[in-house]
Subunit: 243 residues, 2 copies
DNA sequence: ATTACTATTTCCCGAGTAA
DNA sequence: TTTACTCGGGAAATAGTAA
């Protein structure tokens, strides 16, 4: 697959070389090399783009100069703006799941002073001593859970209390049912699998949101775009060689 | 002209609707409407994009859900980055011209205390009492001159001294022959046409750069990208309707 | 409703080549 | 060397239609 249509690649190629303000010396064999196409197609491209008003050719002696027109600049700019709005707005990640009753481990862990003290410090509130378990519904939710676990930036250190060891825990702030502030808590070694999340809050969520086992709960987490898209680095596609 | 290839437009269409993190309900008639293509082509597009690993389809009951894959996200991100580097670096505008001798008006105006006082204030230096006239060489230079005149942000107010009226003047800082700091000065009502610029500096440029009539001079002005691209607002191309 | 196959048409690409 | 024409083959888009 060509990652882009040839027309845009020509405009980007020229723009990278200052074709917004300068007429650039350009031959069809050179352009065709860069695009990986034939000389004939490069020639046709320039002709078509000129007819469409996106660039302007001027022949001086035996050399051709090419410059992007204001319409061409605007065209590329529109594309840029539409991508910018996509990539620079915060990403809202939503998990949906149903409430279920666990074995009480949540309450046990959330009562350990070794955890609570750190949470008060790092969350700014005293968490209710218990967690709300959600069984995630969709594959999207499960995939997003894994991502959120990576992105959870509030780290609570584990500790020993003589009898037993309490592992590290990570938390990411979240909004529950578009309403209550809280967080998703990820235990380093959880007794649950990837299809489950545990929620914490300053209140008892079951009471506050009137939840019973089986109730549908929506958890949303806002991620700064940078943190999100960082996770999608693949070897880059070269649109045109460096200027 | 399709401003973009269909494939990118599908990815952008989905991305605008949260297709990075959520599986979106999608039918080929709806997609085809947005793309302005046939239902059959929309169908083929989804099939092809899935084969290429850029998106993922899941059929649940009789509805199809579509989600962008990490490879698809990376693809779009690469395009975004290459446009970002184009549109967010400062734009360097270059004018080239040859030195010529004027009728001495430059020196006359640049000796008026009504101008000089303001210039000292706004430029931070005392300009040499004279200007260097350049006759611009290329159409690019002449076009860019017009743009720079619009962008010139240092405004010197005109005044009357009883005998006569001195008009408003605008200046934009520039670098002359990659070396000397100075500015291009635009008189509101110049006795020269668009193919001429007048340069000012804290020194006498003819001496400093060893110039004679006919010498080639290169003047460059760095414009913040925003200020530059603002001038290219045309009615936007709709890549896909707002989410 | 959908999706997507097959057939037809249209359009695009590149070889050959002229200027 | 260039640019860019014509033309033949193939890819891609649409029409028709089945499931």
């Amino acid at each position: 697959m060509q990652p882009l249509s040839f027309k845009e690649r020509v405009l980007i190629f020229l723009a990278e070389r200052g074709g917004f303000t300068n007429s650039l010396k350009m031959t069809t064999p050179i352009l065709s090399k860069y695009l990986g196409t034939s000389q004939q197609s490069a020639s046709r491209l320039l002709i078509t783009l000129e007819r469409e008003g996106l660039l302007e050719r001027r022949i001086v002696g035996r050399t051709t100069y090419v410059k992007i027109t204001p319409i061409g600049v605007a065209r590329l700019r529109d594309l840029y703006i539409s991508l910018k709005t996509i990539f620079e707005r915060p990403v809202n990640i939503v998990l949906e799941g149903r409430v279920f009753t666990g074995l009480g481990e949540g309450a046990y862990y959330m009562s350990q002073p070794g955890y609570v003290k750190q949470m008060e410090e790092k969350l700014g509130y005293t968490p209710y001593p218990g967690t709300l378990n959600l069984s995630l519904l969709s594959r999207d939710s499960i995939e997003n859970r894994l991502l959120l676990q990576k992105l959870a930036f509030i780290e609570i250190q584990g500790f020993k209390d003589g009898l037993r060891t309490f592992g590290n825990v990570k938390i990411i702030p979240a909004t529950i049912n578009e309403n209550i502030k809280g967080g998703i808590i990820f235990a380093e070694r959880s007794h649950y699998d990837n299809s489950v999340i545990e929620l914490i809050s300053h209140v008892r969520l079951r009471d506050e949101l009137n939840l019973k086992d089986g109730s549908l709960v929506k958890v949303s987490v806002e991620i700064p775009s940078n943190n999100f898209f960082e996770n999608f680095r693949v070897k880059p596609v070269i649109y045109s060689p460096p200027p």
